[in-house]
Amino acid sequence: MARLIANTPCAGLLPKTIGSVSLSEVDAGVVTLVAPFNGQQKAVSDALKSAIGVGFVAPNRCVGTSPRVMWCGMGQALVMGVDCPDLPAQCVDHSDAWAIVRIDGAGADAVLARLTPIDLRASVFKKGHTARTLIGHMTGGITRLGAQSFEVMVMRSMAATLVHELVQAAENMDARAGLSA
Protein backbone atom coordinates (compact mmCIF):
# COMPACT_ATOMS: atom_id res chain seq x y z
CA MET A 1 0.00 0.00 0.00
CA ALA A 2 1.23 3.47 -0.87
CA ARG A 3 2.64 5.45 2.00
CA LEU A 4 1.26 8.96 1.68
CA ILE A 5 3.12 11.79 3.35
CA ALA A 6 1.07 14.80 4.38
CA ASN A 7 2.90 18.05 3.68
CA THR A 8 1.89 21.58 4.55
CA PRO A 9 1.60 23.91 1.51
CA CYS A 10 4.93 25.65 2.21
CA ALA A 11 6.83 22.56 3.42
CA GLY A 12 10.51 22.87 2.53
CA LEU A 13 10.16 26.55 1.67
CA LEU A 14 9.77 28.15 5.09
CA PRO A 15 10.69 29.39 7.68
CA LYS A 16 13.12 32.04 6.45
CA THR A 17 14.63 35.14 7.98
CA ILE A 18 15.71 37.93 5.66
CA GLY A 19 17.17 41.01 7.32
CA SER A 20 14.71 42.17 9.97
CA VAL A 21 11.82 40.21 8.51
CA SER A 22 10.92 36.61 9.21
CA LEU A 23 8.56 34.44 7.18
CA SER A 24 6.87 31.41 8.67
CA GLU A 25 4.03 29.14 7.71
CA VAL A 26 0.75 29.17 9.63
CA ASP A 27 -1.14 25.92 10.06
CA ALA A 28 -4.74 27.06 10.44
CA GLY A 29 -6.03 23.57 11.20
CA VAL A 30 -9.60 22.90 10.19
CA VAL A 31 -10.89 25.64 7.89
CA THR A 32 -14.44 25.93 6.57
CA LEU A 33 -15.78 28.46 4.11
CA VAL A 34 -19.19 29.62 5.31
CA ALA A 35 -21.57 31.41 2.93
CA PRO A 36 -24.91 32.11 4.66
CA PHE A 37 -28.06 31.44 2.64
CA ASN A 38 -30.11 34.48 1.59
CA GLY A 39 -31.35 36.33 4.66
CA GLN A 40 -29.70 33.88 7.04
CA GLN A 41 -26.63 35.88 8.02
CA LYS A 42 -27.93 36.79 11.47
CA ALA A 43 -29.03 33.21 12.16
CA VAL A 44 -25.59 31.98 11.09
CA SER A 45 -23.92 34.56 13.29
CA ASP A 46 -26.03 33.59 16.32
CA ALA A 47 -25.41 29.88 15.78
CA LEU A 48 -21.67 30.45 15.38
CA LYS A 49 -21.52 32.60 18.48
CA SER A 50 -23.19 30.00 20.66
CA ALA A 51 -21.14 27.13 19.18
CA ILE A 52 -17.64 28.62 18.97
CA GLY A 53 -17.89 32.00 20.70
CA VAL A 54 -17.32 34.10 17.58
CA GLY A 55 -20.08 35.36 15.30
CA PHE A 56 -20.15 36.02 11.56
CA VAL A 57 -17.89 38.95 10.75
CA ALA A 58 -18.40 42.29 9.04
CA PRO A 59 -16.60 42.91 5.73
CA ASN A 60 -12.82 43.36 6.06
CA ARG A 61 -12.69 42.04 9.61
CA CYS A 62 -11.12 39.06 11.34
CA VAL A 63 -12.27 38.18 14.85
CA GLY A 64 -10.85 35.78 17.44
CA THR A 65 -7.57 33.86 17.56
CA SER A 66 -8.41 30.19 17.87
CA PRO A 67 -11.08 29.68 16.75
CA ARG A 68 -11.38 32.70 14.56
CA VAL A 69 -13.64 33.93 11.80
CA MET A 70 -12.15 35.77 8.85
CA TRP A 71 -14.19 37.62 6.22
CA CYS A 72 -13.21 36.47 2.76
CA GLY A 73 -15.44 38.10 0.20
CA MET A 74 -19.04 39.22 -0.24
CA GLY A 75 -21.26 37.07 1.99
CA GLN A 76 -18.43 34.68 2.88
CA ALA A 77 -16.18 34.00 5.83
CA LEU A 78 -13.65 31.39 6.83
CA VAL A 79 -14.16 29.63 10.14
CA MET A 80 -10.67 28.60 11.21
CA GLY A 81 -9.27 26.33 13.86
CA VAL A 82 -12.45 24.52 14.82
CA ASP A 83 -14.95 22.07 13.37
CA CYS A 84 -17.77 24.03 11.77
CA PRO A 85 -21.16 23.57 13.47
CA ASP A 86 -24.39 22.99 11.56
CA LEU A 87 -25.41 26.30 10.02
CA PRO A 88 -28.09 27.65 7.64
CA ALA A 89 -25.30 28.28 5.17
CA GLN A 90 -23.29 26.70 2.40
CA CYS A 91 -20.26 25.24 4.17
CA VAL A 92 -17.25 24.00 2.24
CA ASP A 93 -14.21 22.32 3.77
CA HIS A 94 -11.14 24.45 3.03
CA SER A 95 -8.72 22.65 5.35
CA ASP A 96 -5.35 22.41 3.60
CA ALA A 97 -6.71 24.62 0.79
CA TRP A 98 -4.85 27.77 1.81
CA ALA A 99 -1.18 28.59 1.99
CA ILE A 100 -0.87 31.01 4.89
CA VAL A 101 2.40 32.82 5.54
CA ARG A 102 3.06 35.00 8.52
CA ILE A 103 5.45 37.91 8.05
CA ASP A 104 6.91 39.51 11.17
CA GLY A 105 9.49 42.12 11.97
CA ALA A 106 10.42 45.74 11.35
CA GLY A 107 9.63 46.65 7.76
CA ALA A 108 7.10 43.88 7.20
CA ASP A 109 4.64 46.50 5.97
CA ALA A 110 7.20 47.88 3.53
CA VAL A 111 7.79 44.39 2.13
CA LEU A 112 4.06 43.84 1.61
CA ALA A 113 3.69 47.31 0.11
CA ARG A 114 5.86 46.08 -2.76
CA LEU A 115 3.35 43.37 -3.56
CA THR A 116 -0.12 44.73 -2.89
CA PRO A 117 -2.00 47.87 -3.98
CA ILE A 118 -3.93 48.30 -0.70
CA ASP A 119 -3.20 50.98 1.90
CA LEU A 120 -1.35 49.16 4.70
CA ARG A 121 -0.79 52.14 7.00
CA ALA A 122 -1.60 51.28 10.61
CA SER A 123 -4.03 54.21 10.81
CA VAL A 124 -6.13 52.68 8.01
CA PHE A 125 -5.42 48.94 8.12
CA LYS A 126 -5.57 48.06 11.81
CA LYS A 127 -5.13 44.94 13.90
CA GLY A 128 -8.08 42.66 13.17
CA HIS A 129 -8.56 44.10 9.69
CA THR A 130 -8.37 41.78 6.73
CA ALA A 131 -8.49 42.52 3.01
CA ARG A 132 -9.11 40.54 -0.13
CA THR A 133 -6.69 41.94 -2.65
CA LEU A 134 -3.83 41.31 -5.04
CA ILE A 135 -0.51 39.87 -3.87
CA GLY A 136 1.72 40.21 -6.89
CA HIS A 137 -0.47 38.77 -9.63
CA MET A 138 -2.37 36.50 -7.26
CA THR A 139 -5.70 37.03 -5.58
CA GLY A 140 -5.43 36.47 -1.86
CA GLY A 141 -5.95 37.84 1.60
CA ILE A 142 -3.91 39.99 3.95
CA THR A 143 -4.67 40.24 7.66
CA ARG A 144 -2.95 42.45 10.21
CA LEU A 145 -2.02 40.63 13.42
CA GLY A 146 0.07 43.37 15.04
CA ALA A 147 2.14 46.49 14.46
CA GLN A 148 4.66 44.70 12.21
CA SER A 149 2.96 41.36 11.87
CA PHE A 150 0.75 40.20 9.00
CA GLU A 151 -0.73 37.06 7.57
CA VAL A 152 -0.76 36.59 3.81
CA MET A 153 -2.84 33.84 2.25
CA VAL A 154 -3.42 32.48 -1.23
CA MET A 155 -4.84 29.21 -2.50
CA ARG A 156 -2.48 26.31 -1.90
CA SER A 157 -1.62 25.81 -5.59
CA MET A 158 0.20 29.16 -5.48
CA ALA A 159 2.20 28.49 -2.29
CA ALA A 160 5.61 28.41 -3.97
CA THR A 161 4.86 31.60 -5.92
CA LEU A 162 3.73 33.34 -2.74
CA VAL A 163 6.93 32.39 -0.92
CA HIS A 164 9.00 33.43 -3.95
CA GLU A 165 7.30 36.83 -4.14
CA LEU A 166 7.67 37.48 -0.40
CA VAL A 167 11.31 36.37 -0.31
CA GLN A 168 12.14 38.50 -3.36
CA ALA A 169 10.46 41.57 -1.89
CA ALA A 170 12.13 41.05 1.50
CA GLU A 171 15.56 40.61 -0.12
CA ASN A 172 15.07 43.77 -2.14
CA MET A 173 14.12 45.77 0.94
CA ASP A 174 17.06 44.29 2.88
CA ALA A 175 19.50 45.12 0.07
CA ARG A 176 18.16 48.65 -0.08
CA ALA A 177 18.61 49.05 3.71
CA GLY A 178 22.20 47.84 3.31
CA LEU A 179 22.91 50.56 0.73
CA SER A 180 21.87 53.43 2.95
CA ALA A 181 23.56 52.01 6.08
Partner: protein, 87 residues
Protein backbone atom coordinates in the same frame (compact mmCIF):
# COMPACT_ATOMS: atom_id res chain seq x y z
CA UNK B 1 -7.50 55.39 -10.66
CA UNK B 2 -9.25 54.15 -7.55
CA UNK B 3 -12.80 52.83 -7.31
CA UNK B 4 -14.91 53.03 -4.13
CA UNK B 5 -16.04 49.45 -3.53
CA UNK B 6 -19.05 49.63 -1.18
CA UNK B 7 -17.66 46.64 0.77
CA UNK B 8 -13.89 47.12 0.65
CA UNK B 9 -13.48 50.88 0.38
CA UNK B 10 -11.23 52.69 -2.10
CA UNK B 11 -9.29 50.15 -4.12
CA UNK B 12 -6.86 50.21 -6.99
CA UNK B 13 -8.26 49.84 -10.50
CA UNK B 14 -6.10 46.71 -10.99
CA UNK B 15 -8.40 44.79 -8.66
CA UNK B 16 -11.41 45.33 -10.95
CA UNK B 17 -12.65 43.88 -14.21
CA UNK B 18 -14.52 46.29 -16.49
CA UNK B 19 -17.81 45.08 -17.95
CA UNK B 20 -19.31 48.14 -19.62
CA UNK B 21 -22.36 50.34 -19.41
CA UNK B 22 -24.81 49.51 -16.63
CA UNK B 23 -27.59 49.16 -19.21
CA UNK B 24 -27.15 45.45 -18.58
CA UNK B 25 -29.13 45.95 -15.35
CA UNK B 26 -32.19 47.18 -17.26
CA UNK B 27 -33.23 44.12 -19.23
CA UNK B 28 -36.28 44.86 -21.43
CA UNK B 29 -39.44 42.77 -21.16
CA UNK B 30 -39.67 39.71 -23.41
CA UNK B 31 -42.20 41.43 -25.66
CA UNK B 32 -40.55 44.85 -25.62
CA UNK B 33 -39.87 44.67 -29.34
CA UNK B 34 -36.84 44.52 -31.59
CA UNK B 35 -35.84 48.14 -31.03
CA UNK B 36 -35.60 47.84 -27.25
CA UNK B 37 -33.68 44.56 -27.48
CA UNK B 38 -31.36 45.94 -30.15
CA UNK B 39 -30.54 48.84 -27.84
CA UNK B 40 -30.10 46.54 -24.85
CA UNK B 41 -27.76 44.15 -26.64
CA UNK B 42 -25.82 46.29 -29.07
CA UNK B 43 -26.26 50.05 -29.02
CA UNK B 44 -24.21 52.15 -26.63
CA UNK B 45 -23.80 55.89 -26.41
CA UNK B 46 -20.27 57.25 -26.22
CA UNK B 47 -21.03 59.75 -23.49
CA UNK B 48 -18.92 62.78 -22.66
CA UNK B 49 -19.93 63.28 -19.07
CA UNK B 50 -21.40 61.10 -16.37
CA UNK B 51 -21.56 57.37 -17.11
CA UNK B 52 -22.73 54.39 -15.10
CA UNK B 53 -20.52 51.35 -15.59
CA UNK B 54 -20.41 47.82 -14.24
CA UNK B 55 -17.18 46.67 -12.63
CA UNK B 56 -16.41 43.34 -11.01
CA UNK B 57 -14.20 43.40 -7.93
CA UNK B 58 -12.57 40.19 -9.06
CA UNK B 59 -9.38 40.49 -7.03
CA UNK B 60 -11.30 41.59 -3.97
CA UNK B 61 -14.69 40.81 -2.50
CA UNK B 62 -16.14 39.42 -5.74
CA UNK B 63 -19.03 41.89 -5.89
CA UNK B 64 -20.41 43.46 -9.04
CA UNK B 65 -20.66 47.20 -8.53
CA UNK B 66 -22.15 50.05 -10.51
CA UNK B 67 -19.71 52.96 -10.60
CA UNK B 68 -20.72 56.50 -11.54
CA UNK B 69 -17.84 58.21 -13.28
CA UNK B 70 -17.35 61.32 -15.38
CA UNK B 71 -15.48 60.71 -18.62
CA UNK B 72 -14.66 64.41 -19.00
CA UNK B 73 -13.34 65.23 -15.54
CA UNK B 74 -12.42 61.63 -14.54
CA UNK B 75 -14.22 62.18 -11.24
CA UNK B 76 -15.56 58.96 -9.70
CA UNK B 77 -18.62 60.14 -7.84
CA UNK B 78 -19.95 56.92 -6.32
CA UNK B 79 -20.58 53.22 -6.43
CA UNK B 80 -23.27 50.83 -5.28
CA UNK B 81 -23.62 47.08 -5.03
CA UNK B 82 -25.46 45.52 -7.95
CA UNK B 83 -26.73 42.65 -5.79
CA UNK B 84 -30.46 42.97 -5.30
CA UNK B 85 -30.95 45.74 -7.88
CA UNK B 86 -31.33 43.80 -11.15
CA UNK B 87 -34.84 43.30 -12.48
Amino acid sequence: MRLPCPLCGDRDRREFYYQGHAVALDRPARDAGDGAWDDYLHNRDNIAGEVRDLWHHEAGCGAWIEVTRNTVTHVVSGARLVRGTAK
